[in-house]
């Protein structure tokens, strides 16, 4: 889609939306938001950019393969669940501690895992389209 307005604004919006997604992720514990919603916003940022500049350009904005994000997300979530075991508490008990004056808890880390997994999975689907399109386009043209 070749509209000047979309092309120009999407670059700004991309950054803004990514920031918003991280913001939503971290405020989620107390205000509306959370890992799932944050991840959807982040995917939205990429989808918007892809509409304006094409999937190939959007893909270049992610330094690693999105499927790796899925793996990392699941690992982070799993590790956050295991922490309690080492303190002799049942699996997935929330453990809260203070890091540089900021209250951090394993549920928040778990939410980061949710964020990464959902983000990676949806982006994999999105970028998969591009890989199909590359050869599909050649065939068509």
């Amino acid at each position: 889609m070749n509209t000047l307005i979309l092309r120009t604004t999407s670059s700004f919006l991309f950054t803004l939306l990514l920031l918003l997604s991280v913001f939503l992720l971290f405020r989620g514990h107390n205000e509306p938001g959370g890992g799932f919603i944050g991840a959807l916003v982040a995917v939205g940022a990429y989808a918007l950019y892809a509409l304006a500049h094409g999937l190939k350009a959007a893909r270049k904005l992610l330094p690693l393969h999105p499927l790796r994000l899925v793996g990392w997300g699941l690992l982070v979530a799993l590790l956050s669940a295991l922490v309690a075991l080492f303190l002799n508490k049942p699996l997935m008990t929330g453990v809260w501690f203070s890091l540089f004056g900021v209250k951090v808890g394993t549920p928040v880390i778990f939410d980061i895992g949710v964020y990464l997994t959902v983000f990676g999975a949806l982006l994999s689907a999105l970028f998969g389209l591009e890989e199909t399109a590359r050869t599909g386009g050649q065939e068509g043209g």
Binding site: H29, I37, G44, L91, L126, G136
Partner: protein
Amino acid sequence: MVTSVLVAFAGALGAPWVYRGLGNRAGWVLALLPLGLTLYFSSLLPAVLAGQTLRHGVAWVPSLGVGLSFYLDGLSLLFALLITGIGTFIVIYSGGYLKGHPDLGRFYLVILLFMASMLGLVLADNIVTLFVMWELTSLTSYLLIGFNHTEFRSRRAATQALFVTAGGGLALLAGLILLAGMGGSWEISELLTKGEVLRAHPWYLGALVLVLVGAFTKSAQFPFHFWLPNAMEAPTPVSAYLHSATMVKAGVYLLARLQPALGGTEVWSSTLMAFGLATLLTGATLTFRQTDLKRLLAYSTVAALGALVFAIGAVPLTSYYGAVGFAAFLLAHSLYKGGLFMAAGAVDHEVGTRDVSQLSGLFRAMPITGVAVGLSALSLAGLPPVLGFIGKEALYAAFLEAAPAWMTGLAVLGFAVGVTLALILTVPFFRGQPPEGVHEGSPSLWLGPVVLAGLGLLVGLFPGLYNPLADAVASAVKGAPVAYHLKLWHGLNLPLLLSLVTVLLGVGLYFLYPRLLAWMAREPIPGPESAYVGLMRGLMRFSGKLERLLQSGSLRAYLVWTFMGLVALVGLALLRGDGLLWPQLQGLHPGQAVLLALMLLSALAALRLRSHLATVVVVGIVGAGVAIVFLLQNAPDLAITQFLVETLTAVLIALVLLQIRRIGAVPRGRFLDKLVALSFGGILTLLMLAMLAQPMSPHLAQFFAEKSLPEGFGRNIVNVILVDFRGLDTFGEITVVGLAGLGVYALLKGLRKEGKP
């Protein structure tokens, strides 16, 4: 104890890096892990021999009775020592045997993982822990048997072993759950004290059969024995470890462990003795069809496992011989079989063949291996002065006390084949000329066989060394204190006479071996394996038919199946429930009315529009309307999610439409489509109405509202529920999301490959 198992798992995970760093010397270094564990368990010997049982555990999911709890008595200690001790030599041996193999790092990883799971299995007190470890040994052994994954035969053998043992594992799971229900505890140590309750329970027979199926498949008992010889496709270190001392003994371990709780009934003893004897004879008979060293050993393992099961069945019927014979024979068999397997692999490695008819004069070429084979073969034959003799004598005493004469006679016949096999194995070492250029392998190849054979001799000469532990093992199996004096010479008695008969029979059979071989190897004998093959073939045919029916490749057909399936299930639930109900509805606000009208209009428009993009937009309006309804009902989280999902769906469809350029107008709905859409929408409406008609319980909402801040430290109740209260569900859900992403990606990638000319 918990730490030792965790250390074993952690060490296994680190193995590939150690290999990458150290290369060919990694085997010696990695062996420090099992060696350290052996020393640790040895340090617990004094406490256990003093009659203590050690228990240690951490909570895992206490609300479900699942704990990571471990229990150490004589029986589990002997197994732990065998697993880690033999494991040490196996790791060293692998370094020499698989030297330079490109996947050696992965091999270390899996075999150490196997060791850790096996250790967890024999130490487990909690039933769930036991089962998880049990399945882990099945999975890791699948990877180990199929290690040469480019060969069809090893893949087939690995799959067969997995199907048989994991299928039995399912039966075991059901049996264990029944046991826990009957005894009212998830801890084995507590179930052992409730034997009377368990045996008198109406579910006793069902639970027993299920547990036996699990144990019999794992320990290759008749009629499930066929997977074990086929598993010889595995690299020799695997056979030496899994198929001598450890995995195949897991079933035997479980039976011995549960003997005090389940044993003592007529059905227990007669079943175990019957199947044990059948297995012993099957293994012994089929020996005469083989000339391959490893397969010969595999059938002898089948026979030995049968003897062990027989002994466990005899435990309640004998004063103490059954339990003592079990303890002595178990150690003897693990030592000589592990050593013989490793020696067979060394011979194969140096000579290049495992066919006994092609081997000759090896003693001059490989004297160290020769000595080890000779000593182990003595134990296999059950001759003095090695441990195998003591074990067999005790077993004979048990059979004489517990079993009818004809059973004992058949058992003697089975053991006679052990003598024959010992001759078959040792004669090639002394007969004829050595092949050219064959020499002793590296120390890593002969160290294990020599030490294991040496131990067998040492304990045979000085049975007092093993006596205290044997008593502890026997007490654990018997469920009552046992004190017995192990010795080589008991004077002239009936067991000694039987031993003599065994040797004579065995030597006689050895001279018949070439003729028996020619006769038995001529045609395939139909056995339980044919049933397995038939079952698998039928399963494939059935799934092929099912696939053609369900997986036609048409997206439309999938949607019809999915939606109509849901309609049927929900409809059935509604019919069986309270039926159709009409809730009390409140009036609509003007705002809500306008919203609903808009949504209805969009939905109708979607039916009429012929442009794909426009259809996406109007369907999006319906979704956005739903989101606004959520917002009006004070559910901001739901509303945000709904908005985002709608937006993303629209964008994704738009992107897809951009990619697919040649696309016509939306086709008019067919009759079937209309029917599916109407019934799915209709059934969901009925479901919603029925749900609204139910009185809403404020209990849960109240609980979460009250506990969210003090226990979850969050003010957003929805989020706290997702990541804390119901975190396990969320974890399952994100796993599904991740897998779905992977699936979509793989599908699209597959399309690309097919699209390439």
